[in-house]
Subunit: 338 residues, 2 copies
DNA sequence: CTGAAAGCGCTTACAG
DNA sequence: CTGAAAGCGCTTACAG
């Protein structure tokens, strides 16, 4: 592939210096808003810059000053609205803080994750916010640390060592959801959807805990792992309905799974919330207006993204500080599906 | 705000040159995979680089060579899965072509759009892919052109002049959807949701055309504009049901609107597809597993993003070529809601 | 096949 | 308060 053309970059600091009759240093100083330059001079410089159509070359500036105002964000699954909401919160907070974001999507592909991380490293970024792909080795933490790039990991924990992390209380949240189902009189409750992994185990633990608290025996046959997509959940729900007629409720891995369950239920002529209870997890925007509206566990996805941004910004400004975590407190939100 | 720290950048091309006993030029050449350098020398250089933990500073290289491998993508509404799917297709194609993407989200805020565009301009980007905010002035086209930055606009047209554009046949698509409703025997059909703007007018025109083709009089009272969100559509549907009991079907502005309608219908005890017909537009992933699955118009959102990427890449490699357009051909996909 | 030199657009001590 | 000079990490003619 040929080298791409790039925008004309005719006018530089040198040109405006000449036009304003000052030195490059003076122009640089006024561009940075320095108070060292007399008002009158500064005004003359700004006028010249305006007239010439000068545009600041931030990358050149960052190269010289060895600074960076860009942050890499890597997301594993943007097709799940939960991650889209996290991304929006994160991006908003980052640009408000004066950063610009490199965004890369990995589609749960480990190789692509390695590739985009390597590419970002070459870009002199100030930090990385990562929703790791399923199966990401813990060693990635050490690798990125060795690069000297601040990192915050989001949603999926990456081992037990200390690192900046923004996630939610998965166990507590699903325990809440399951306990609600039990309180409504359900005794045969499934745990539905999701792929095995750290988050799955935490949520499953919440399900088990709620059962145990109610004196209900845990039955491995009632946990139905499946792709955490609408389609995976839809198919899985159909199969469950056929093979486990006694089940009357499901604590779902997340809202997407719950939506798939709603769809399958409807297909079978079952009314969610009446004939079969379903609880979601996340409380994505869509949950408020599904058919029927979804009872779920709110972990405030957007706020989670903002929290991740805050952690990363703090790490950047205080590299030596101790790692910290944001764990969203789950809240039950009851609508019509359970 | 203090200047953010940046990663340690200890080792440079200079260091590896010293370690390998060659000049900087030679190192640069082998890094670029030039065939000018003897294999043995190249290997020695690569070995030294590896040993020293050298990492290429792409931004410095781009500054020197006045090239750019980064593209700015600005999206107006990531909370709509349609745009998320467009973004994913776009990003995938761009990184496959060796680019990295700056992503900014505008939340339909014109001021933020101007701000992120200005920021991206300072970053020496190779191109911009823009889903313009509602109310973006046509003049933006000229402005970006004057910057010398290749631009592709997506989804929402921006005036009548020639420019690279990726969108869909809105009029044809909604005509298809409306005609289907008519074929099913509906005579009192609403056009539901969406905010006035170029896309709205095109889709509304399709609705009118289908009515006219069937000899049904258009009634302005049957077009219900509303925020193109689940919530806006939900509330609007409820109001419509109350005030226009004769309406038995709706051609929706997009899938998100249709989902809101599904929710409202369910709330009223109406069965979508039986008691009231709903047609969507876009065919987002979620449409296949809503409750009930949504009949809609497929414009392949992901492919649209890929097409936008292709247009932009072409513009970058052939700046002088004539502007071109990708207009997705709509296809009816019939599921349960109509 | 490889090296010495200039320079991309900027910042930053250092003088004055 | 402002200018001259060096240099960030790289590339690219130009010699040899």
């Amino acid at each position: 592939m040929s080298k791409p053309a790039s925008p004309a970059r005719a006018v530089t600091i040198h040109d405006v210096a000449a036009a304003a009759g000052v030195s490059k240093s003076t122009v640089s100083l006024v561009l940075q808003g320095s108070t060292l330059i007399r008002d009158e001079t500064a005004e003359r410089v700004r006028e010249a810059a305006r007239k010439l159509g000068y545009v600041y070359n931030r990358r050149a500036a960052e190269l010289r000053s060895n600074s960076s105002r860009t942050i890499g964000v890597v997301i594993n699954d943007l097709m799940n609205p939960f991650f889209a909401e996290v991304l929006v919160g994160l991006e908003r907070k980052l640009v408000d803080a004066g950063y610009i974001v490199f965004m890369a999507h990995t589609s749960e592909d480990l190789r692509r994750q390695e590739q985009v991380l390597a590419t970002m490293r070459e870009q002199n970024i100030a930090g990385i916010a990562l929703c790791p792909v399923l199966g990401t080795p813990q060693a990635l933490l050490k690798t990125v640390k060795s690069w000297g790039i601040p990192l915050v990991v989001m949603v999926r924990p990456l081992g037990t060592s200390a690192y900046d992390y923004a996630g939610s209380d998965n166990e507590g949240g699903v325990a809440l959801a399951t306990a609600h189902l039990i309180a409504r009189g359900h005794r045969h409750i499934a745990f539905l959807g999701g792929r095995r992994g750290p988050v799955f185990e935490q949520r499953l633990a919440g399900y088990k805990r709620a059962l145990a608290d109610a004196g209900i025996a845990f039955d491995e046959a009632r946990v139905f792992a499946a792709d955490p997509t609408r389609e995976g959940a839809h198919d899985c729900t159909l199969a469950m309905l056929d093979s486990h007629a006694e089940v009357t409720a499901a604590a779902c891995y997340n809202d997407l799974v719950a939506f798939g369950a709603l769809s399958a239920l409807g297909e079978r002529g079952l009314r969610p919330g009446k004939d079969f209870a379903v609880m979601g997890f996340d409380n994505v925007l869509a949950a408020a207006h599904s058919n029927p509206p979804l009872s779920t566990v709110d972990v405030r996805p957007g706020a989670l993204g903002e929290a991740a941004a805050a952690l990363l910004l703090h790490r950047i400004s205080a590299p030596g500080s101790a790692p910290s975590r944001y764990i969203a407190t789950p809240h039950l939100v009851l609508r019509q599906s359970a």
